[in-house]
Amino acid sequence: MLQVRRNRLWKFLTILILSAGGISLILFALNSKLDLFYTPSEMLEAEIQPGYRIKLGGMVKIGSIEKQGTAVNFLVTDFKKEVPVTFDGITPDLFKEDSGVVMLGYFLDGIFQAEEIFAKHDENYMPPELSLEESSE
């Protein structure tokens, strides 16, 4: 009887330790691989390390889009602060001035280097933070 119980305890402990180990590995992966979302003012305040991957969301400033060869430069704003962005490639069909944009990339030498620009299927899309502020104003 005692032997059976001891065996069961060991089994239980092994399963517990293994699953705890597994879950902490997954959580570790989650925490190291997640992309934080910022608006331009939040990003400038947060002092992000250069080269650290983040998501930046805001509105494309009117009249700021400039195209040179395959590069696209523009300003992204949250109506308080603005950040210059550079992107190499073809922008999504819904990318235009005075509309919402979300980008994945990193901040380097005062310029946000966008690696991906996300196309939203809804042409009236705005990052949630901005639409909240706009409606409260």
Partner: protein, 632 residues
């Protein structure tokens, strides 16, 4: 008028289902009456038929352009071809939910009528199916009524379907996917009925095997079609984005795959029975979770429908209720279910259960990846997103270990320990393929990628194991499980081609004036932008570029386009793809710059065809396995 009749029929169907439930719950625990089941079945069948007829009328309304129905007015247009008028029904929430319910009903009516007349589980299964259909029908009618009229006057013209959805692959992608999702209602209801019934001598595996296999096939085809559509229509050159909505489709797929495997062990030797039941319940629960994620709009994704807390709350409560009930009964019966047989270490079952555990880990990780941003946001208010890097990190070790178990299990036997020589046999191929993979990575990439390495190695290993075994058994005239071999070779090919795709593919952005040409690299000797044309088409205006490419001494002409749709003013890009067995030349046109030149994005994507092929192989393998008489 037809709209009202269709609406009334749906309401009557829910009333009939209510009657089935009330009638049975009042008499279920009293003495069994002979006609009780016959009557319930009749009512149930009539309810199902009412739903079908109601949907048929709805399709008719869409075809005749009845724009007094709000949903049709918002999503269809009189200019559309009839095919897209019909498919516009499932282009948004209300209509697609209707289709979802129609499929749910379809699976239920088929299954319940195919079940033997005096099957002891028939009545309970019928009740569970009625409850589920009723719950979703009420959800449709109460929170998202597709029959709603625009009063007093209807719209003159419809608002049109989103142009990116006007595509044959996307038109059949949702029906396939839904057929897969709801198909697992069969396994769910039957297992729950078995647990409720309490006679554990009954066999249930054979009755739901084929149904689950068919559902799996639909799910796989549905996911593949979606991925294929994204590849050629969205113009990003990718086929899988780890988007939350893709993830919620992958979870039931993984659970269903694990379920099919353990179903073999369960019916063969009575072990893993409880585990199989748990999986059977889990698949449908995950499908419902998926419906909740997509339809509540809780997660921002390209697929999600409009944000509606009321719908989300209803779906979450009802799905949660069903799942908790099933799991509750399962937990209650668990002590009585424990089989005395133990899994023999080194037997086929042992490897199978190891891979089951790994698939559960994968499901759990995806689940965390989908819900973690929500958890973080509600706790700290910080907005985060989980992208491909997380899934890549999680999946490389899982795939590696899985492939080892798959390789060894090819040699393993049911219920007997593995002979040592089988392990010895696998040492050589492992070393061989590990070195080949290192070699491939070494030649083609600058940066070592763990995931690509693992993918190539595992893919080759799995493919080789089954291929070798099949050839070997064929010559020795021994039994080959063809279905399993083909499906697993498909899996190996999938790992291999996805990894090769990720290391070989590259892209180049090009900026040229009309008539100008450029040399890209060794393989693409010339890229010439010949001309650009603008012309009107039926409901849109086309900007079409003519591009000539000299690639590997072959002449290729491509016509990437941009379309501006008149009704919505929306712009879409049409990718031009030149496909060879090994690689796709994939070209999209960008914008015109102020100086008059145009930008292009050229992507060379390797092994994309092979990814679709591997999915087709898996479907073929499972189809073969399905038509076998018995589980072997």
């Amino acid at each position: 008028m037809i709209g009202e009749i269709a609406h009334f029929l749906s309401l009557s169907a829910s009333a009939l289902l209510c009657m089935v439930l009330i009638f049975n719950l009042f008499f279920a625990f009293a003495e069994e009456h002979a006609n009780q089941l016959i009557l319930s079945l009749k009512l149930f069948n009539q309810a199902c038929w009412l739903i079908f007829i109601s949907f048929g009328m709805y399709v008719y309304l869409a075809i005749i352009d009845d724009f007094s129905i709000a949903y049709i007015a918002n999503h269809s247009n009189s200019q559309l071809p009839i095919f897209y008028k019909v498919t516009s029904i499932w282009s948004a929430h209300e209509g697609s939910m209707f289709l979802w319910i129609v499929f749910l009903t379809l699976w239920s009516i088929f299954f319940i009528n195919f079940l033997k007349k005096d099957h002891p589980l028939k009545k309970l299964t019928l009740l569970i199916l009625s409850l589920i259909i009723l719950g979703f029908l009420l959800f449709l009618l109460l929170t998202s009524n597709p029959f709603e009229r625009i009063l007093p006057f209807g719209a003159l013209e419809g608002a049109d379907i989103n142009p990116v959805l006007q595509d044959p692959a996307l038109a059949i992608h949702p029906p396939m996917l839904y057929l897969g999702y709801v198909g697992f209602v069969v396994a769910f209801s039957f297992i729950t009925a078995f647990l409720l019934h309490g006679n554990f001598q009954l066999q249930w595996e054979q009755d739901i095997r084929k149904w689950s296999f068919v559902a799996w096939i639909f799910l796989t085809v549905g996911i593949t079609l979606g991925s294929w559509w994204a590849y050629y229509e969205l113009g990003w050159g990718g086929y899988w984005f780890w988007d939350p909505v893709e993830n919620v489709a992958l979870m039931p797929w993984l659970a269903a795959t694990a379920f099919m495997h353990s179903l073999f062990a369960s019916s063969k030797s009575n072990i893993l029975k409880t585990w199989t039941m748990f999986l059977g319940i889990l698949i449908f629960a995950l499908s419902l979770f998926g419906a909740f994620i997509v339809r509540s709009g809780i997660i921002d994704s390209v697929h999600s429908f409009a944000n509606d807390p009321e719908r989300g709350l209803y779906l979450l409560s009802f799905s949660g209720l069903i799942t908790l009930l099933a799991l509750g009964i399962f937990a209650y019966r668990l002590p009585q279910l424990n089989s005395s047989k133990l899994v023999v270490t080194g037997s086929k079952e042992s490897f199978l259960s190891m891979n089951n555990i790994l698939m559960m880990t994968a499901i759990f990780s995806i689940f965390l990846g989908v819900t973690y941003p929500l958890i973080i946001e509600s706790m700290s208010g910080e907005k985060v997103s989980i992208g491909p890097p997380y899934y890549n990190t999680i999946f490389s070790p899982l795939i590696l270990i899985t492939s080892f178990f798959i390789m060894i299990s090819v040699e393993a036997l049911w219920q007997r320990s593995l002979p040592i020589r089988a392990v010895a046999y696998s040492v050589l191929p492992t070393i061989f393929f590990a070195s080949i993979s290192v070699y491939i990575i070494w030649i083609y990439t600058q940066i070592f990628s763990m995931l690509a390495y693992v993918g190539i190695f595992s893919g080759l290993l799995i493919f080789y194991s089954y291929f070798f075994r099949t050839i070997n058994n064929f010559f020795k005239k021994r039994y080959i499980n063809k279905g399993s071999a083909i499906a697993h070779m498909g899996l190996g090919l999938l790992f291999f081609s996805v990894s090769m795709n990720s290391i070989l593919s590259y892209e180049k952005n090009i900026n040229l004036f009309s008539g100008q040409s450029e040399r890209i690299n060794e393989s693409i000797q010339e890229f010439m932008f010949k001309d650009i044309k603008v012309y009107p088409a039926s409901n849109h205006e086309v900007i079409s570029a003519e591009v000539f490419i000299l690639q590997d001494q072959k002449k290729i002409f491509l016509n990437p386009q941009k379309r501006q749709y008149m009704t919505r003013g929306q712009i879409t890009s049409e990718t031009a793809i030149h496909a060879t067995p090994l690689k796709d030349t994939y070209l999209t046109i960008g914008d015109q710059l102020e100086n008059g030149s145009w930008t292009f994005s050229l992507k060379i994507n390797y092994f994309v065809k092979w990814i679709w092929l591997s999915s087709a192989l898996m479907v073929l393998g499972i189809s073969i396995a399905m038509f076998k008489k018995k589980l072997t």
